[in-house]
């Protein structure tokens, strides 16, 4: 399949990179409404769709190493898909957290600002741990959140202490690779 290189909205040498060059302007002009409609179909909400379309273009703009865009809409939907996944995941985590708080005595409830920080941090941690096997994830959370000793974690997970160390190493390594 030969694709029109002349219609590239972002220069193949990556010149558009972070600067809002003509390539980006054209990309935005030609596809913004379409992308918003695409998102609205998936979200059923116009307000969120507008926000997420904006987030998508911000992401595109921030991508430093864009090699080439043969099919701008395929590229945009892929970026938007990532934005959408994060959005839905964040919404789930936020709901779960607020439900937890609803069962917490008022005296222990964090203020609004702290809540926002906690939700943000929960999303970051959740993203870092994505794809890890359940026991690896659990071992890491026991160690980090509850401060359990490795021996206690081993007992809870019914594995050996050396397995716990391996789990923790695996989880830590993934976190170090993904956090910036």
């Amino acid at each position: 399949m030969e694709l029109e290189l002349s219609s590239l909205p972002i220069e193949p040498d990556g010149a558009a990179r972070t600067a809002a060059g003509p390539g980006f302007t054209a990309l935005y002009r030609d596809h913004h409404r379409w992308l918003q409609a695409w998102l609205r179909r998936r979200l059923g909400c116009g307000v969120d769709a507008a926000d997420l379309a904006q987030d998508t273009f911000v992401r595109v703009l921030a991508r430093r190493d864009v090699a080439q865009i043969h099919e701008p809409r395929a590229y945009l939907t892929t970026v938007a898909h990532g934005v959408l996944v994060n959005h839905l995941r964040r919404r789930d985590l936020e709901r779960a957290y607020l439900l937890e708080l609803a069962q917490t005595p008022p005296a222990l409830q964090p203020d609004v600002e702290t809540r926002a920080i906690v939700i943000e941090t929960l999303c970051e941690i959740d993203a870092m741990l994505a794809g890890l096997p359940p026991k690896v994830r659990a071992a890491f959370l026991f160690a980090q959140l509850e401060g359990l000793s490795y021996a206690d974690i081993a007992t809870r997970l019914k594995v050996s202490t050396s397995s716990v160390k391996q789990y923790l190493h695996k989880a830590t390594l993934q976190c170090l690779q993904t956090c910036h």
Binding site: R42, D65, T77, T78, I125, A130, P134
Partner: protein, 323 residues
């Protein structure tokens, strides 16, 4: 959004260094670290800038958890809830699967394979093929993929042995089940794609409804527009399906801030011989649309974008290295 963001990209930290940092992180918290260990750890940190940067990440990681300040345990429960646990009916399911397997003669296929010979349809590296099954279901096979199928009075079974397929099921009163190494997918009048990776399967549903049943885990229903990755033990949190639909049908791979190693692994599936990348560049991130049908063009695009060079030794060995 400022237009003059600096273009300097932080150099990636080699994986070996991150592994060492992770090892220190785990050891220092084990309660077994001696004074001598601590001294060795400090020496390690001081030994190079990369070590120091790796350790800064480890500290940032610890700080994230401090920020949660999870006295009530709410955060812990939220994160735990987020990870599905294997189902309780594990033994029962295993039996059911075994019974199903016996009844349908799947055990025949357990014999050690030259894997392609047993397949009813297989593609070679770089090939894609469209085929129609006996019931009229339409299947597209991706590169280096193989399926078997077996239809009887009650069921339509399709086994994905390796690679990836897209299937549009024909109307038929018999349920259609796709089996992978990790479990089964039962379709109800649908169009979906299934991919068999080394340790997991992934299904993307474009139309209709289906049920995913890991061998030892709790089953889950997917609706149109949803996607699930599953292992034998569990299904990962359900995500929206990749909405480009299967771009591989068009011979394209769309990358959004992907580590180079993942893009290369994908291109490798479409390429004869070995294609790999050096650890030093594996973590570089890349975005763009790449041609699966012309992996040489894709490699050139990579070389134009990232500080890497393509090393070719003979026609069948290619490696991406730091420039």
């Amino acid at each position: 959004m400022p237009a003059d963001l600096p273009l300097t990209v932080e150099a990636p930290i080699p994986i070996e260094v991150l592994e060492q940092a992770a090892a220190w992180f785990v050891h220092l918290r084990s309660g077994e670290a001696t004074q001598a260990d601590r001294q060795r750890w400090q020496d390690w940190c001081a030994a190079s800038t990369e070590h120091r940067r790796a350790w800064q990440r480890a500290e940032a990681l610890a700080n994230r958890f401090d920020r949660l300040d999870d006295r009530t345990g709410a955060a812990g429960r939220v994160l735990d809830l987020a990870a599905p646990t294997p189902g309780r009916r594990r033994a029962a399911r295993r039996l059911a699967v075994a019974a199903g397997a016996l009844g349908l003669g799947w055990l025949v296929y357990r014999a050690p394979p030259p894997r392609q010979w047993l397949a009813d349809q297989a593609t070679t590296v770089g090939e894609r093929r469209h085929c129609v099954l006996a019931d009229g279901s339409r299947v597209d096979l991706d590169t280096d993929s193989a399926i078997d199928w077996r239809f009887d009075a009650e069921r339509r079974w399709v086994r994905l042995r390796h690679g990836r397929m897209l299937i549009e099921t024909a109307h038929d009163p018999r349920p259609l089940v796709v089996a992978t190494d990790q479990g089964e997918i039962q379709a109800l009048g649908t169009r979906f794609s299934v991919r068999q990776d080394a340790a997991a399967s992934r299904v993307d549903l474009y139309e209709g409804l289906l049920e995913v049943r890991p061998l030892d885990g709790r089953p889950a229903r997917l609706r149109a527009g949803e996607s699930a990755r599953f292992t034998q033990a569990q299904i990962d949190p359900i995500r929206p399906a990749d909405d480009n639909g299967p771009t591989w049908l068009k011979g394209l791979m769309v990358a959004d801030d992907l580590p180079l190693s993942e893009l290369v692994a994908e291109l490798d599936r479409y390429r004869r011989g070995h294609l790999g990348c050096a650890p030093a560049v594996a973590g570089l991130r890349i975005s763009g649309v790449f041609r699966l049908d012309d992996t040489d063009a894709a490699l050139s695009a990579i070389a134009r974008t990232l500080p890497v060079r393509i090393q070719r030794v003979g026609p069948y060995w290619t490696r991406i290295d730091a420039r």
